[in-house]
């Protein structure tokens, strides 16, 4: 019992130190400048007192490492000999990397298509019923669950027992009760990627639904009423009015999902560790770093990720910034 108490105390102490430290830092620096800086230099110094911690951390954790990674992607495994673009060449010709590229593409199409269309469907349907918050909360809830937690949940759904024994996985129980043979969802190469993608759709649909629902509610009711009076069917209203008017939100939601999926790692790492043909770019990079200790190739994959992210991010920010009359 004292053991647990002791460990809790250590944790509380560490938390207090970490949180208190940052406030002490600002308080101290501000006090020093206020007290010792001569009159008119004070106002020129203070902004930098408030900014320096942020700038320092951004430089150390994002700017410098990015430059270094680009640099060492042109070096060998131990970053000693310059090898030019060899790492990129290897990355593009390697068989497993080819598989990773294909899978990442499948993830992009599957997750983005799946979660955006399901999110839109739920947003539009829930908008028409009085108990709207209930389905929306239930579908939004998985957003709080970690990829690791979600992986365990779904691994249990996909659990496989040989034919003839009682199935404890929900999916195989359904399959066998319909009279089919149980399926090894995570081992069969034709379906295991789709099984992983389903997890991400389950997690991401809530996000799409919330943003799309806000956009749908932003459409002025008069437009819809006018169309209805003119005899437009519900289908026509959806395709000809709702969809074009929320185009911008659909784009933002899709690009945000793409950015997330490009870097997907946890689900693959926990479920299959990238075996049985399920490798993706981020899990491959992790292997290059920690299993093969090849920093050159690992960095090359990271640079490719950055290159893939930039255009999508630019699109996202530009669309997000555009003032839309409906928001």
């Amino acid at each position: 019992m004292t053991h647990i108490f002791g460990r809790g105390l250590v944790a509380a102490l560490a938390i207090g130190l970490g949180c208190g430290g940052v406030f002490a830092l600002f308080y101290g620096a501000n006090g020093l400048v206020e007290r010792f800086a001569p009159g008119n230099s004070k106002n020129r110094l203070l902004p930098w007192v408030y900014l320096t911690p942020a700038l320092l951390l951004l430089a150390v954790y994002l700017v410098l490492p990015t430059l270094v990674t680009i640099y060492i992607s042109c070096f060998d495994a131990r970053s000693q000999a310059f090898v030019g673009l060899t790492n990129y060449l290897t990355v593009f010709t390697d068989k497993t990397m080819g598989e990773a590229f294909r899978n990442n593409l499948l993830w992009l199409v599957g997750v983005t298509g799946g979660s955006v269309s399901l999110g839109l469907l739920i947003a539009v349907l829930a908008d028409r019923v009085r108990y709207e918050p209930v389905p929306k909360t239930l579908i939004f809830l998985p957003m709080a669950i970690s990829f690791v937690g979600a992986s365990v949940i779904w691994k249990f759904i996909y659990a496989f027992r040989p034919a003839g024994t009682a199935q404890i996985g929900l999916l195989n129980a359904v399959v066998t009760s319909l009279g089919f043979e149980p399926v090894g969802w995570l081992v069969e190469r034709s379906i295991n990627n789709l099984a992983l993608i389903a997890i991400m759709i389950w997690l991401q649909t809530g996000f799409c639904m919330v943003l799309l629902s806000a956009a749908v509610k932003g459409i002025p009711q008069e437009i819809i009423e006018a169309a209805r009076l003119d005899g437009a069917s519900e289908g026509q209203i959806f395709w000809r009015i709702t969809l074009p008017l929320i185009r911008s939100t659909i784009l933002v939601v899709s690009t945000t999902t793409i950015l997330l999926v490009l870097k997907v790692f946890d689900i693959v790492y926990v479920m299959t560790a990238g075996n049985q043909g399920t490798e993706v770019l981020a899990s491959r990079m992790f292997k290059e770093m920690f299993s093969f200790r090849h920093y050159g190739r690992g960095s090359a994959i990271a640079v490719l990720l950055l290159l893939a992210v930039i255009p999508i991010m630019v699109l996202n920010i530009r669309e997000f910034r555009r003032p839309t009359p409906l928001r």
Binding site: P53, A54, I72, T137, G298
Partner: protein
Amino acid sequence: MPNFLATRLTTWVSQTPIHLALVVLSTLWTLPSLGLLISSIRPPEEVLTTGWWTVFQHPFDFTQYSLENYRTVLSAEGLGQALLNSLTIAIPATVIPIAIAAFAAYALAWMEFPGRQWLFLAIVALLVVPLQMTFIPLLRAYGHLGLTGTFAGLWLAHTGYGLPLGIYLLRNYIGSLPRDLIEAAAVDGATPWQIFTRLIVPLSMPAIASFAVFQFLWVWNDLLVALVYLGGTPTVAPLTITLTNLVGSRGQDWHLLTAGAFITMTLPLLVFLALQRYFVRGLLAGSIKG
């Protein structure tokens, strides 16, 4: 009156497909978590031989439930220590970036200095950097500095990674506060420190809350950053790493895995349900994370 009833009836009937679709989708989305929760409170021998849905044959037979699995994972499988570690990681890794981002956002929004707009744009541009770009150089630096496997090293990493989003969200909110209010305080002789602590921070609580929810959920649920900077040290491993290891070592012991997974989910779900309003507001204000 009967006419009115008839209209209501027809709308209700025409609405049936909508109700049906919503019920089906909600059920599909809830079943996975429900199965996890039920399995985690069933005795091991039951979990491993029959499906969790069999409890519905006698749902009120409470002898078929027990909390034994939770006791086992928390003590024998080390999830208790991991829970403490997760708290030790996630609380400072949420508070530190909030403080640093708030001060920076205040300076960027309300203090005069050359290059202010450019600096803000440069910080927003950092949102594009995938974390993967930073791992190898930082890991090497950490090795030299002895920061690998320390809480402080992980706090700083999460702070650095969270700052672009934090500064972006907070600067936009703080910048939209009424100018008169801040100028009046300055005329009354308030120092920048007083303006920040007594005016800006209390007024910006909604934005701070939404960034806090984001950052906390992100850090608590993170596996990759913890794996990279903590390595395999079990004494500092958070829940996500410990649970991942459990999947590796006890892959078929579903009674333990389900209880473990539920432990990792409780706190984020509570935070999420309590602060959902702020989370959604943050989402609508632009959730883009690198």
